[in-house]
């Protein structure tokens, strides 16, 4: 099986399709694709039609003069090309097309964001010999690429590559570290952890898309096994609670609560605070640094807080309503930020906020909002 994403056979498929001799095939493919524009998307029904089409095309290609005398591998390449062509054309209809799927994707991604703030390998009892940052990053990278591709096969390859990286890690550990090969007992926890670290885009929709639209005859064996493992990792994450982990229930709840608060603090507040010199000053925005705050706010906050530069004499009665609502907004944000900071500093499971010098903070938050950073952190 291939281990890369490159797929030159696709070009050879397109070449053959340009050959006048394949006009009949091209016609059926085009009319098949067009036929979808007549009715609303319906994943189960669409999948059945598409799978049936792949089957009938397989027969047509096998009998076609252009493929006369072709090997099984060549026929298979043509079918892969067909799958990629059809599914790319029908992508917007078949991928994450229902509101339900979109909602599910968002829920999973949000939950993973919360888990990322405190989950550690030991919560899943992952032995330390398997905690290999380099391998894990590589595996994460493969999962994160999943939306760079539109065909089911290429998306599936991202999953397969991710799983192979983990497999290699397990095999390596069993050889060099003398760790007894634990099979799935070791594999699944690492995959779950990697999935949480990666927070792959539209996880639910991607899995569903592959399950429904990957040519069924190719969704067997190792590929099916790896896909099942990611489906199972997703399912574990969706149902995850304190009992799923090696963690005190109270600690789990407190960590989730703290994570929710971090995520709830509105973006613009945090962006403003990002520019401040140290995190300590955020916890204590006392009167000692008014000029500093004012200067920074001017840089970043004037759109959100238009009265920062205003003088009392300029205000009119008409401004009261706006001022009051801005005041409430600021107080809400400030309260939730303080509460977050309190949780962060009290919770043992959450790694402390960046404590280093100014440069450190700037480097960590450079180019991202604080929210993003907290999501990315292990």
């Amino acid at each position: 099986m291939e281990t890369t994403h490159s797929f030159h056979p696709f070009d050879s498929f397109l070449d053959r399709m340009r050959n006048p001799a394949s006009l009949d095939l091209v016609r059926s493919i085009k009319s098949f694709i067009v036929s979808f524009s007549f009715n609303a998307p319906n994943p189960e029904n669409d999948a059945k039609r598409i799978q049936d089409f792949f089957q009938s095309m397989e027969a047509a290609i096998r009998d076609h003069p252009l493929w006369e005398g072709s090997s099984d591998a060549e026929i298979d390449n043509a079918l892969e090309g067909l799958e990629k062509y059809v599914m790319t054309k029908l992508h917007s209809r078949t991928f994450a097309s229902s509101a339900e799927d979109v909602k599910m994707d968002a829920e999973i991604s949000d939950k993973i964001c919360l888990l990322q703030t405190f989950l550690r390998p030991q919560h899943l009892d992952i032995p330390s010999v398997l905690q290999n940052e380099a391998s894990w990053l590589l595996a994460e990278k493969e999962l994160k690429r999943i939306n760079a591709f539109k065909s089911p096969r290429e998306k599936l390859l991202c999953i397969i590559n991710c799983c192979r990286v983990i497999n290699n890690l397990l095999l390596k550990a069993s050889i060099s570290e003398d760790h007894v090969l634990g099979g799935a007992d070791d594999f699944l926890p690492v995959l779950i952890f990697v999935t949480i670290k990666a927070n792959p885009p539209q996880l639910h929709s991607n899995l569903k898309f592959i399950q429904l639209y990957r040519k069924q005859s190719n969704l067997v064996s190792e590929a099916a096994y790896f896909l099942t493992n990611l489906v199972s990792a997703k399912s574990f994450i969706v149902d995850l609670n304190a009992k799923s982990l090696t963690i005190e229930e109270s600690e789990f709840e407190a960590s989730m609560q703290a994570a929710r608060l971090v995520n709830r603090v509105p973006q613009e507040t945090l962006t403003t605070f990002d520019k401040m010199s140290t995190f300590r000053k955020i916890t204590d925005p006392g009167p000692s640094t008014p000029m500093h705050i004012k200067a920074k706010t001017n840089l970043n906050g004037e759109l959100n807080y238009p009265y920062m530069e205003a003088e009392a004499g300029e205000l009119t009665v008409g401004d009261v309503e706006k001022l009051l609502s801005l005041y409430k907004d600021v107080v809400t944000k400030y309260t939730s930020l303080c509460s977050t900071v309190r949780h962060l500093s009290f919770s043992k499971t959450v790694s402390p906020a960046p404590q280093g010098n100014d440069d450190d903070l700037m480097r960590q938050t450079n180019g991202r909002t604080y929210k993003d950073t907290s999501c990315q952190e292990d």
């Binding site: 099979g183 199972s232 009992k243």
Partner: protein, 201 residues
Amino acid sequence: MGCSSSLPDRSSGRSTGLNNADNSEGPDAKNLRVKLVLLGDSGVGKSCIVLRFVRGQFDPTSKVTVGASFLSQTIALQDSTTVKFEIWDTAGQERYAALAPLYYRGAGVAVIVYDITSPESFTKAQYWVKELQKHGSPGIVMALVGNKADLLEKREVAVQDGVDYAEKNGMFFIETSAKTADNINQLFEEIAKRLPRPSPS
């Protein structure tokens, strides 16, 4: 039919598993392909059994492409049929128990493993048997395996308990040792013989 040899080591030609491309062989009467799911508590040695089987005990240097949790191996039976096992390992920890149906869906064979030194693992095995009877594919071939049979002095589950339970539930039973390779090939050959054939030859 005629697969009655009790000397599987001599009778089974072992294929390396390398020459079988994933989709090259369609299922037919002579060449079966079957999905086998492994269930059992973590630490009972599920993956060791499979590794033993796939790597073989006679040639430990044989380089079979193996993953850590998915393995496939083809065996040839005396009646010149071959069976390709696609072996799906499952995580045995309690926290993953609810995920098992995702793995045993569509499996033709379930091998349920316990550790003869651990009564808890035997209880867990019985749980899996019940679960498969309720939710497994109809006609699934089930084998009950007491592993770590080399640890005789630490035995806590009597052979007879395994035999009785398996008989009551219409399963094949065997005790194995992944460590000494005892009965490993027999396990898979027995399973192969019990597979339903598309057309008996």
